[in-house]
């Protein structure tokens, strides 16, 4: 174990992968983890080593996403970084219609082993166009895997799985996580998809969160503890495929479910989780399922407005207290 930043953990996974597999090329390398506090010598050596496999393409998200599909079906394993997730909307047709559909509509002849990486979330003064959290939009499209790591260790292990997956994988990380630190196992390891983790055990209420919201949920759990509420924090880690069991097992234990989501709640991942639990574990519930997320408006710019719209530990604490009437 070594303490590392989230950015460094992703860099490690990418380095190991590129070392092992010469078919990996990275598009948009410099806006990914480079220049984000990595040891300068490591960064320099990496760039020098992979001159033909690190590309900084024109600002052409549409064709870039399509180049990913065309080269993946032809035998490469492209890693495509769009930067801010809203830029990937330029490429929505390619991601949904080409990447997600290719395998199925070819009757299994094609495989699309590619990773689309993007930064989601409310980063501060991003305004409406640089604060998107599009995870549920992708989850709604068959054929796409959707991954949202919360910790450096998860980022490294899940990225190893994403790169080795034969499916197109949306690897969605939060800009605010990049500098966060955590213990990361040394060497090579992979975390399977559809395998969530209980980040904090508790018995009174289940809080489900992903990505940056896991950190907010853990903060909230500490505050709730002081109020005598013992919260369990569950991180499913991948939206597609989804680990329903880790959530349901927890709800069966606590009887209460609050879901914290950074996106608008309309047709959100939180809504999906609520539906799954209502369908499969209704009798375990002692009260209504509560969702906490951003209001259904474009993200405003002004700090006071932005703070009002940003889901966080305080809003989660309020919701849990209301639910438990404490």
């Amino acid at each position: 174990m070594t303490e590392k930043t989230f950015a460094q953990a992703m860099f490690d996974a990418l380095s190991i992968s590129m070392e092992q597999d010469p078919t990996i090329s990275v598009f948009g390398a410099s806006s990914f983890v480079l220049g984000r506090g990595l040891p300068p010598a490591d960064e320099k050596a990496f760039i020098a080593k992979y001159t033909t496999r690190l590309l900084d393409p024109p600002v052409s998200e549409n064709v870039l996403a399509s180049v990913g599909v065309g080269s993946a079906t032809a035998g490469l394993r492209p890693f495509i970084n769009f930067g801010t997730s809203s830029f990937a909307f330029e490429a929505h047709n390619q991601i949904v219609n080409e990447a997600g559909n290719a395998r199925y509509m070819s009757g299994g002849q094609l495989k699309v082993p590619l990773v689309y990486h993007m930064f989601h979330g409310i980063r501060g003064i991003g305004g409406a166009q640089h604060s998107q959290s599009p995870q549920s939009m992708y989850a709604n499209c068959p054929g796409l895997e959707v991954v949202l790591p919360a910790t450096p260790a998860d980022a490294k292990g899940l990225m190893r799985t994403a790169i080795r997956s034969d499916n197109p994988t949306l690897f969605i990380t939060h800009t605010k996580l990049l500098a966060t630190k955590g213990e990361v196992p040394d060497g090579d390891y992979a975390i399977p998809f559809a395998k969530g983790e209980v980040k904090r055990a508790g018995k009174d209420v289940t809080i489900v969160a992903m990505s940056l919201m896991v950190l907010e949920a853990l903060k909230a759990a500490d505050q709730l503890k002081a109020l005598g509420i013992d919260a369990e924090v569950v991180d499913p880690r991948t939206v597609v495929p989804f680990d329903a069991k880790v959530v349901i097992d927890s709800v069966k234990k606590t009887g209460r479910l609050v879901i914290l989501e950074e996106a608008s709640l309309v047709c959100s991942v939180a809504s999906e989780i609520a539906a799954i639990v209502a369908e499969q574990a209704f009798e375990a519930l002692k009260g209504p399922i509560i969702r906490v997320g951003r209001p259904h408006v474009p993200m405003p710019y002004s700090p006071s407005l932005e703070a009002f719209c940003t889901p966080d530990a305080a809003k989660l604490v309020d919701a849990v207290r209301k639910l438990l009437k404490k």
């Binding site: 064709v63 032809a74 395998r103 070819s106 002849q109 499916n167």
Partner: protein, 333 residues
Amino acid sequence: MPEIVSREARLSLLERMLLMRRFEEAVIHAAAKHKYIGRNHLYIGHEGTGAAVMAQLKPGDLAHTTHRNHGHIVGRGADPGRALAEIMGREGGLCGGRGGTWHMTDTSVGFQSTSAMVGGSIGLATGGGFACKQLGQGNVSVALFGDGVLDEGISYEAFNFASQYSLPILFMCENNEKPGRRETSMLAADRLLDIPKALKIHTMTVDGGDVEAVHAAVGEALARIRKDQVPVFIESQIEAWPGSHQHKPEFTTGETDISMAWDTGKITGPHADWIRQEPILRYVRKLLAEKAAAQADIEALDKKVQAKMAKARDFAEASPFPQAEGAILGAFA
């Protein structure tokens, strides 16, 4: 690039064109007989282009096409029975009935994909070109598309990308636009070629009704692509088939009668002008005039193709619809 001189090569080119034509005729007949069959975009009239391209691709080269794809698929060597079965939604289809007319793929013959998105093939082929370059085995990637693709923003991005990274790609545009009659694109530039040219892509124009002219242009382009690792754009100008309408083709010109090539008196009716210069009859006339083949050779070739299509039709008709429960499988590896 050498013109085709050998008699065998010329007859094989004609055979490819005939297969494309007879295949589409089978699609029309099947559509009349069955309820569920996609026949929106037929390849009739385009054969000179597809045959010239497919005759010159090597194993390992990657083809990506668009909605007007049937001719391309069978021209590259996909089994016509399985292709027809796919269009008819059958289990024995190339993609097990999961793709249909708009998404036919046959990786066993290097046919990577059909995208029904206008502009789909051009981006995918650019990715194919990137893969060919990275893998370094001397293969090329081909994008087949219509003039409408130049209306889509992705064409600009793809040309720029391919040019910047010097990718081995043939951009093969089948321009069947007919101003005032059949408008499938609206470009403010004077010519389609102006767009790729502005991005420093070598461009060529060719008469798509003259299969040997297309063959020569494609041959020259492929040689250049392979040698210099650069993209080339060819515009093949096609006289659109009068039966081709956006959503529902009509069999206006009837079944092709190959003897019309020498018995021109048989060509009558409102579409006589199109029939007179359509690429297959035109090529037959050329082969006869240059004594590369006799009428009997042509008739024998057509019979051979028709027999092949009869078998293909039997296969497709006999193939069952897929087991419904299988629909939920196969989205993920």
